[in-house]
């Protein structure tokens, strides 16, 4: 575990889609799939990203361009330094002998990528708004795709696709990450089918190690007690799928994405 940001050199950058880049750096960090690091750009900010690649001593994070921080990250070149600390949080519990399915919505697939790497024999569903947002197509061959506009794979949401799948497949475990409204629907669907579900949640984070109280979800610290929660835990989290906490600490109703 790195307590204070350690500067690592970006050794490679891969453009996964117009909006997503993966940044690789040499660092040997022991981590569980689903754990995250805090990424620091000095004088700017520091934000959480899941480790999406681990190959020997090369790690990668896949970053969707959204606001100021991810824009700045996308501007980095190979050779530039970024700070990382972590890994933080509780990752996914992997059971290799189960009929598992991974359901990623949007950039959520990045948090699931090392689950797929480890489990290998697993069904992967990736959902996006449109074909250009799909990533990791070479990495995970045979991935089941769905897009809202039907430009790739199934036309519809990941939840719709999972429903279809359940008609023909007997799943015992679902790993999912993506917009919380989607996560909630996946969770409900699994519950109805008696399928064990592990969900990676997203909350605004500051410290990353369970002190500042920013990342609350019904009394659970998403940074330490999560970000991955199990069906059993989710049953007790009233806020799940309903409210989130802004940077100010204000509680707000979850948006539709």
């Amino acid at each position: 575990m790195i307590e204070q940001p350690t500067m690592v050199k970006i050794c490679d950058i891969v453009e996964e889609s117009p909006g997503v880049k993966t940044f690789f750096f040499k660092y040997n960090l022991l981590f569980d799939p689903g754990q995250f690091v805090m990424v620091w750009i000095p004088l700017l900010d520091e934000k959480p990203f899941t480790i999406s690649y681990m190959q020997k001593d090369i790690m990668g994070i896949s970053v969707l361009k959204r606001g100021a921080f991810t824009h700045a990250l996308h501007g980095k070149k190979a050779g530039d330094l970024i700070g990382i600390r972590g890994p933080y949080g509780k990752g996914f519990q992997l059971h290799t002998n189960s009929n598992a399915c991974v359901v990623g919505g949007g950039i959520g697939i990045a948090s699931l990528a090392t689950v797929v790497d480890k489990l290998r024999d697993v069904i992967v569903i990736q959902g996006a708004r449109t074909v250009s947002e799909i990533i990791y197509q070479k990495r995970f061959q045979g991935m089941k795709l769905c897009t809202e506009d039907g430009t790739a794979g199934f036309k519809g949401t990941t939840v719709d696709l999972l429903k279809e799948l359940l008609k023909t497949h007997n799943l015992s475990k679902v790993y999912t990450c993506g917009p919380e409204k989607m996560l909630y629907k996946v969770f409900e669907l699994c519950k109805n089918h008696g399928i064990d579900c592990e969900v990676s949640l997203d909350r605004y984070m500051k410290c990353g190690f369970g002190i500042c109280g920013q990342c609350d979800c019904s009394g659970q610290r998403v940074c330490v007690d999560g970000p991955v929660f199990t069906t059993m835990e989710l049953n007790t989290l009233e806020d799940f799928g309903k409210t989130t906490i802004l940077k100010t600490g204000e509680r707000v109703t979850l948006g539709n994405r």
């Binding site: 500042c212 109280g213 019904s218 100010t248 509680r251």
Partner: protein, 306 residues
């Protein structure tokens, strides 16, 4: 274990034990307060609330080092209206809840106290001592005896709840300030807030790690300073003292209470030992008291004085 009594009475607030969650640690939501109370805290303090919402400083805001923690969160909080919504029906929390109230002007403190008056808080804490947020605490001159007297007096007018004034360890005249608070009607002193500020530089980045560059130092590094402050305050004021700074074990808590604290606040200890640090500390205190033949907190508070 049963004959050992850890309970304390703090300004007529009965606490099952002397451990209190310090302000700014997890105290952002009612759910966290409930969880901390379930983990054994005798009382819990909410993260400080101002009139308007504040985003606080950019990240990194909290960082650890060998001897403790450095933070400059910048008083992020949702403002008094949202806080009043979040902290309603506090009877659900299984321990007394202390409101922490901040402001840049005297009137701000009053407005926040009034805005929170429908919630069932057990006390109001006013930190006049943050070393790293412009407009507040030390950076706004609130740490002088005069300002302390003035702010405490204003708050006194609008609440009948016990008022805890939280002081900085940085200031040589801590006793003078405590006396000003006492004279203005404060019911307890919370000592201490984070010290410094301090700075940690990342030498590869060649820049301070915290985005605000400097932050308050807490944890082990602070403990001897906090113990000394409490020891001095115990001689200077008659009102009870809540000792805060670097407490993470039962021995630490007993040390702080022997210096003169009637109860102890715990912040960084949550990082060192987990959310159940409160239970752990109480267990360790109980065991130590058994081994040393002491059965209640009166046998401990202030006994390090000649």
């Amino acid at each position: 274990m049963s004959h050992i009594d850890l309970s304390v009475n703090l300004c007529s607030i009965p606490l099952a034990n002397p451990t209190i969650l310090a302000s700014g640690i997890l105290g952002t939501t009612k759910a966290f307060l409930k969880r901390v109370a379930e983990n054994g805290a005798g009382a819990v303090t909410i993260k400080s609330i101002s009139t308007e919402p504040r985003e606080g400083h950019k990240n990194p805001t909290v960082i650890t080092f060998e001897a403790g923690m450095l933070n400059a969160v910048g008083y992020s909080n949702p403002g008094v209206d949202a806080a009043a919504r979040e902290f309603s029906n506090l009877q659900d929390v299984n321990a007394p809840v202390i409101a922490s109230v901040i402001g840049t002007q005297k009137g701000d403190f009053v407005r926040v106290v009034e805005g929170l008056s429908d919630s069932q808080f057990s006390a109001i804490e006013i930190p006049l001592s943050c070393p790293h947020t412009p407009g507040f605490g030390l950076l706004a001159g609130q740490g002088t005896p005069e300002a302390t007297f003035a702010i405490t007096s204003e708050v006194r007018k609008v609440t009948r709840l016990p008022i805890f004034v939280k002081l900085s360890p940085n200031i040589p005249e801590i006793c003078t300030i405590a006396k000003a608070a006492e004279d203005a009607g404060a019911n307890a002193i919370t000592a201490v807030n984070s010290m410094g500020p301090g700075m940690i530089i990342n030498i590869e980045a060649q820049r301070p790690v915290l985005s605000f560059k400097v932050g308050g130092v807490t944890g082990d590094a602070l403990r001897p300073i906090a113990v000394r402050c409490v020891y001095d305050l115990y001689k200077a004021v008659k009102i009870p003292i809540v000792g805060v700074g670097g407490i993470s074990t039962g021995r630490h808590a007993i040390e702080m209470m022997m210096a003169g604290a009637s109860a102890v606040g715990i912040g960084t200890g949550v990082y060192y030992r987990g959310i159940d640090v409160f239970k752990k500390i109480c267990g360790e205190m109980t065991q130590w008291m058994e081994e040393n033949g002491l059965d209640n907190m009166n046998k401990i508070v202030g006994v390090a004085h000649d």
